[in-house]
Symmetry: C2
Subunit: 418 residues, 2 copies
């Protein structure tokens, strides 16, 4: 177990090293990223061996299939981590850009220069690919990084980290700027969360209980994503064929992720026409339907949805369905039960569509498209470090631009204030 003192030393060294990192030019950062990508491929065997050890331990401990699926690496997944790093090299470097440059009446030139946030801390669970993604994104955006992965993936994480950090340092990465905490004791997290003035932001990635724990304990800023209780509302004016495809895609294309559909809302005037064939198609691939009383009039053998269902992020082939009598009722439902992640309307009515866009206050609000598009790559931003459901700093997919802050730069020629 690391002592409080050694964790503080590590974090302070990372903070200091970050100042150096923040001044490295784009070409050099890209060179480091490419070297890291290559090193990952070169160390494939060692990483797979370490991962096999983690998987064995997890299996012995009787971890769930979902956890083991997230944990397990193979050649393809390592290849994908590696190409992820090369792709980050191709993204525009946001650092140093100046926005909103304007001249004041007294001649002062004032602009906002993009700068790294500083020292970022990621607290995550079983996914070892997070290690490589976060290193790539923080490096490119000039941020120092402290990684604290879960105990399940510790051997994989150490190997991935060593491969990337080693290749990075050989190519000019400031030596303390990226750190992996090897200590998997929970107390280490508590100490990190108390490092006000050293760590500039914590981004927890994992299940709701991890996030809640982090929020409860953190004395440093946190950007978070609780859960994705996403809705599609099929309006009375929807193209029902389009609606069926969007609902099917949102629910089924990858049900285990945060932007998948959890609750379908249908206007009562189209419920009888829309639901039977929709439900048939969903059931054909194994989706369980839980409906409100109106839904169960149309879909006779649906399970009843209880109050708890409307709050639920199933992350599974289960869909709760509610019939509503108006746009207002649909929006009120989303406001009450949703998680402000991704919500969509399907409608051909311009005014209703625009009202939904304006009035639903979720990170991503869709008209006539699948909720599954909430993703850094799909939005054209490249790799993401997470999806924020907060209102502060960043919302929705967070890429390298969202890992920046800014400072005002002011060019004068002797101005003083009257």
């Amino acid at each position: 177990m690391s002592s409080r003192k050694s964790l503080y030393q590590l974090a302070k060294a990372a903070k200091l090293s970050q100042t150096e990192l923040s001044l490295i030019g784009t070409d050099k950062k890209n060179k480091i990223l490419m070297a890291m990508a290559q090193s990952l491929r070169k160390n494939k065997k060692e990483i797979l061996d370490a991962n096999a050890k983690d998987v064995r331990v997890a299996e012995k401990k009787g971890r769930s299939k979902a956890i083991i699926d997230r944990l397990v690496l193979n050649e393809k997944r390592i290849e994908s981590m590696s190409s992820g790093l090369s792709e980050i090299a191709l993204l525009d470097d946001p650092i140093g850009h100046i926005e909103d440059f304007n001249r004041r009446p007294n001649g002062l030139l004032i602009g906002k220069m993009k700068v790294p946030i500083g020292l970022v801390c990621i607290i995550y669970e079983a996914r070892p690919n997070v290690t490589a993604d976060c290193i790539g994104l923080c490096l490119k955006s000039g941020n120092g990084l402290i990684l604290r992965g879960g105990s399940e993936a510790i051997n994989s994480n150490i190997r991935i980290y060593s491969a990337l950090n080693g290749a990075g340092i050989k190519n000019g990465l400031p030596k303390d700027s990226i750190k992996l905490i090897m200590d998997t004791d929970r107390k280490a997290v508590d100490i990190l969360l108390g490092m006000s003035g050293i760590i500039d932001v914590v981004i927890p990635r994992g299940g709701e209980s991890l996030i809640k724990e982090v929020v409860k304990k953190a004395k440093v800023p946190v950007i978070k994503h609780y859960k994705g209780v996403c809705h599609v509302y099929v309006d009375e004016n929807a193209d029902l064929n389009m609606a069926e495809n969007i609902v099917f895609n949102s629910k089924v294309q990858r049900p285990g992720v945060c932007n998948a559909l959890e609750t379908l809302l249908v206007h009562r005037d189209v419920a009888a026409r829309f639901l039977p064939s929709m439900v048939r198609r969903l059931r054909s691939v194994g989706v369980e339907i839980r409906g409100d009383s109106f839904t169960r009039k149309v879909i006779k053998n649906a399970k009843p949805a209880v109050e708890k269902d409307w709050y639920e992020e199933y992350l599974d082939l289960i869909l709760s369905v509610k019939v509503v009598k108006s746009l207002e009722e649909a929006m009120a439902h989303i406001r009450r039960y949703g998680s402000m992640h991704s919500d969509a309307i399907v409608t051909e009515n311009y005014d209703i569509g625009m009202r939904f866009i304006r009035e639903v206050d979720s990170a991503c609000v869709y008209i006539n498209a699948s909720t599954r598009f909430t993703d850094g790559y799909q939005f054209g931003k490249g790799a993401e470090i997470g999806i924020s459901t907060d209102k502060i700093h960043a919302r929705g997919p967070m890429g390298i631009r969202e890992l920046t802050s800014y400072k005002y730069v002011i060019f004068g020629n002797g101005q003083i204030r009257n």
Copy 2:
């Protein structure tokens, strides 16, 4: 004392009411602001009477002159609060603007729409003008607001709030969207700081101890400003006449505020030429000089500066002075002792100036201008709700634009994900 339950009820009602407020158009918001400005003038007598009561209590309690100066209102100050509200009506309404609209290869149109943050909570001390400023700024940016002022100003705050809120509601302000907590018990603050999921951001305004207390206890996001330990670095290539004016203005024009100069750094090659006349001018208006050993060789009768001085926000006619041998030493000093608020260099050397701009990571970095310009009005942003020295969400002067978040709005025509 309000119960926990009643505070939660008030906050939840404000949250609900904010949804309504967020949808009010610009014209109506401006009309409400103008009505508030007028109501403040109309209720001048009642406000001044209430304020006199607060001042009497503070005097009886032996509060410092500085606190009483912040607390006291007069006709001019009420007029200035009132015109502040009318000026906010003239500012551009940021809400609903869409930025970075772009078309994805699959035809999806994706943009970022500016939206209010949600429910803002301001915790402040003795300044009753904060009540009016914050109401104006939050209203214009569509945010719900919970105000929790200090006990010193409670009578003034209640009167100001009643005047503004009454006029607002008469003109269509959603009735629970702006609330003043009348309970001045500290426990009320603790309860507010725990309202995760209800309050979207807390902005504390006041002394360092208040801010630290808030950061320690908050379970909700905080945007803060600790203190302003601002520096001017006079480089060896400075126009010494310009440097003298900038240093004098930064230190003396209003020494009690956060953007005033606290530590002067001077390159050793110009110290002997620059310091004597600089110090003479500063001393002529009563500034006390505390110097490092080199400074005291040039300025014989200066007090010695001790380690503690370099961290100190004097907010008074005291200046610490250090002679450095290079730009690097100056920047290292700022990094170590500064508060990342506002720091300036005076130089005629292009490369040195640009290095200072790039490498000093403060909210506002100046070349050849007074640090006193760090202010919403001076930056052309209008009234400010505070100055952030955080790296998250907003840095420097926070105006109405910084009181916004955004959501992604996505317009499709049936797109689904492959």
